[in-house]
């Protein structure tokens, strides 16, 4: 990551959207680069080495999904997708092809920033080897494989831990059902969503103060699960 200010590449063909994103991101301390087309975007990622990419799906020259796939073939830069389509299958497809998270237009700046920072933190964690992920009162030590709630040890089964571990690695960002199922139970079970429902219910009983009003292990309907934003621990307010 850039020493002083992080660089963000905004890829969108609508000038009004680019303008407010620029204002909002600069206010948050980013250095903003623009790209209007998919080809521009691919070039800019190579030349400018951004710390974050915000990618709109409706581009004039190529489908946003194609840009994402081409970019992911050589870059792991944190990437948030802007989508107008509130179509869950589409979102899942984008997440599976490597987007770190998505926001649906129209969206508030705070929501976008929360997703972006979470994705960037994951990148930092991966490079620094920081083992502890926090979400509200919950702390997950990925190195020692220890989970504590308000400092007290929580006993989990191996699969419960594995599930929490994957969510912790993506803390603050959504993880799809398919990904979780594949990682925890293996490829033959990618459609057994009910495994997740059963395990998440058990997990919530162990880590949530009120399992019917979870604040740590959050559901994204039709998509997957999200471990609450590590720092905030509180819902995002625009």
């Amino acid at each position: 990551m850039n020493e002083s200010s992080p660089i963000v590449l905004v890829v969108d063909d609508e000038v009004q959207i680019r303008r407010f994103l620029r204002a909002g991101l600069e206010l948050d301390g980013f250095v903003v680069q623009d790209a209007e087309t998919g080809n521009d975007a691919l070039k800019s990622v190579t030349l400018k080495q951004p710390d974050l990419v915000i990618l709109d799906l409706g581009l004039p020259d190529m489908d946003g999904g194609d840009v994402l796939e081409r970019l992911r073939s050589w870059s792991t830069v944190p990437l948030i997708v802007l989508s107008v389509r509130s179509n869950e299958a589409e979102k899942v497809r984008l997440l599976e092809s490597g987007a770190d998270d998505y926001v649906v237009k129209p969206f508030g700046m705070a929501e976008l920033l929360a997703r972006a920072h979470a994705a960037m933190r994951r990148q930092v964690r991966a490079s620094t080897g920081e083992p502890i992920v926090k979400a509200g009162p919950l702390a997950i030590d990925l190195a020692a494989r220890i989970v504590t709630l308000n400092g007290a040890r929580v006993i989990l089964t191996p699969k419960e831990y594995k599930l929490l571990q994957i969510l912790a690695q993506h803390a603050g960002n959504v993880v799809t059902h398919q990904y979780l199922l594949k990682e925890v139970w293996g490829s033959p079970h990618v459609h057994d969503t009910h495994y997740l429902r059963i395990f998440v219910r058990k997990l919530r009983q162990k880590i949530e103060q009120d399992p019917t009003q979870p604040t740590i292990l959050l559901t994204e309907l039709g998509i997957g699960y999200r471990l609450a934003n590590p720092e905030a621990g509180q819902p995002v307010v625009n």
Binding site: I17, G24, E88, Y195, L221, G222
Partner: protein, 509 residues
């Protein structure tokens, strides 16, 4: 093949006649057994009338010829038993000749009566069939929502009338699929549609002759019809019959004002398509500027100059909230379009009911900020197999209504419970309530209660959308209210699978 058809029928008729004569003789034989028994045990000598029984029966049930056969044999046997010289078939005495004449008369009269009665019954039944067919047809016409449906009804009606394979071609834009017919027939139809002729016959290349013509000679409104008349031999006969049936049918179509119904249906579907296309494109065009407005408002709120000025900050809140509301209205329009186009296809999966409620409340967190939300949810509800996104959107509509129609500061009670075979997700408010009259119309498209329509904004789509979404998931919506201004509770009821069919436990090793 068709050429052999009449002689084949004739052979069958001869065979049936022979069988009937055999039956008549059998009846006479049985009568003879009875007569013989009467004479043997009771010494009866005046019983020749007994032979009228087989004559009557044969006349009534079997027809003229068997009845006459029965009469002749009957007279001979009665001469044998009842007239001197006994046990002799010789017929000579005046009484016997009178007997013979009487038997013949009975045979002829009975069979004639029976025959004409049978014909009457047949005719009555046929007329009744026709009437009920016509009645069913006119009812189908009245209920047909689109031009294509009307054409299908006409086609079936004509097919039953002419008793042949019938293919109907609607005018080009009627929405009727182009039927699969042999190429020469298609060409003939096209030439009639161009108006060069109104009726023609073509050979389809497989030896069958098709009659192709306008359904009505007078107007092209009812389209063109192609009828397979069969192969060469029988054609002219059938053609006359078919032409007659068709002119009857065309008269019926005109009488029932089918042309008018067709035009109405076409206009309806065109308007509907136009409206939906407009809604679709307008919505998409509005989305982008809305994203910019909402996004910009949230950026403004974060800028230092405004963050410290409470008045300006609340103004940016107004921009943001109204943009969001507009976005919801657009979403409702799009959803309504999807529903009326039958494009709702639930993506079913197992889901924790509580997640649906929480996700809906999360989406409406700001809208509910002025209310006191009281949650009452069971932690151990059965999982349900639904499209969670659709159900959540339905629940959001209900939450919206509660927030809109109940005063700020009041309590909105949200619960998720199990009741019988349903998981029940409800929202209870202390708002305007629902009167009995309103209850009847609740959930209709564009319905808004007149009491509150003036003081609140809305499209009247919300609950209608909610109903459609919940219905698509096999559930239903229930609304209860003690009356006007006494609040209401609106619930989504979703059936869950019984214990045995709940998802199996996931492997934990």
């Amino acid at each position: 093949m068709t050429y052999l058809w009449p002689s084949h029928v004739r052979a069958e008729r001869v065979w049936r006649e022979l069988r009937d004569i055999g039956l008549a003789l059998l009846m006479v034989a049985m009568t003879t057994v009875v007569a013989w028994a009467l004479i043997r045990y009771f010494d009866l000598r005046r019983g020749s009338f007994i032979y009228l029984v087989p004559v009557l029966l044969a006349g009534w049930h079997l027809g003229r010829l068997p009845a006459m056969v029965a009469a002749v044999t009957g007279v001979l046997w009665s001469g044998y038993f009842f007239y001197a010289p006994f046990y002799n078939y010789f017929v000579a005495r005046p009484a016997e000749i009178l007997n013979f004449a009487l038997f013949m008369a009975v045979a002829l009269v009975t069979s004639h009566l029976a025959n004409s009665m049978k014909r009457q019954t047949e005719l009555a039944r046929k007329r009744e069939n026709q009437m009920s067919g016509l009645y069913a047809f006119s009812r189908r016409l009245a209920a047909a929502p689109t031009a294509a449906d009307i054409y299908r009804a006409i086609e079936e009606h004509l097919a039953t009338l002419v008793q042949r394979k019938v293919v109907l071609f609607g005018p080009g834009d009627s929405g009727v699929e182009v039927p699969d017919v042999p190429e020469p027939v298609r060409t003939a139809v096209a030439s009639i549609q161009r108006g060069s002729t109104v009726s023609t016959t073509v050979e389809d290349g497989n030896g069958d002759i098709w009659l192709v013509r306008r359904v009505s000679q007078r107007t092209p409104d009812f389209g063109e019809i192609a009828i397979d008349l069969g192969s060469v031999g029988a054609v002219s006969d059938i053609r006359t019959r078919v032409e007659e049936a068709l002119s009857d049918a065309a008269a019926t179509l005109e009488r029932l004002d089918v042309a008018h119904a067709l035009n109405e249906a076409k206009m309806r579907s065109e308007t509907e398509l136009l409206r939906e296309a407009l809604i679709g494109s307008v919505s998409h065009e509005l989305r982008t500027p809305l994203s910019a407005i909402l996004g910009a408002a949230t950026v403004l709120r974060r800028s230092p100059a405004i963050e410290q000025n409470e008045r300006l900050r609340s103004l940016t809140g107004v921009v943001r909230d109204e943009a969001e509301r507009l976005n919801n209205d657009i979403q409702n329009l799009l959803d309504a379009t999807r529903i009326s186009r039958h494009q709702i296809k639930p993506q079913l999966e197992w889901i924790e009911p509580v997640d649906i409620v929480n996700s809906a409340l999360e989406r409406r967190r700001r809208r509910l900020a002025d209310h006191n939300v009281a949650l009452d949810m069971d932690s151990n509800l059965p999982f349900i197999y639904v499209d969670p996104v659709l159900v959540q959107q339905a629940f959001v509509q209900i939450v919206d209504n509660a927030a809109k129609y109940s005063p700020g500061g009041s309590t909105i009670k949200v619960s998720a419970k199990r009741n019988g075979h349903n998981v029940v997700l409800s929202v209870g408010d202390h708002g305007g309530g629902i009167t009995v009259e309103e209850q009847a119309q609740l959930g209709e498209r564009f319905f808004r209660g007149p009491r509150l329509a003036a003081s609140t904004s809305g499209s009247g789509l919300g609950l209608w959308i909610a109903k459609a979404f919940v219905g698509a998931n096999g559930g239903r919506i229930h609304a209860a209210s003690p009356g006007a201004n006494q609040g209401s509770t609106v619930s989504i009821l979703l059936p869950f699978a019984p214990e045995g069919n709940q998802p199996e436990t996931a492997p934990d090793e």
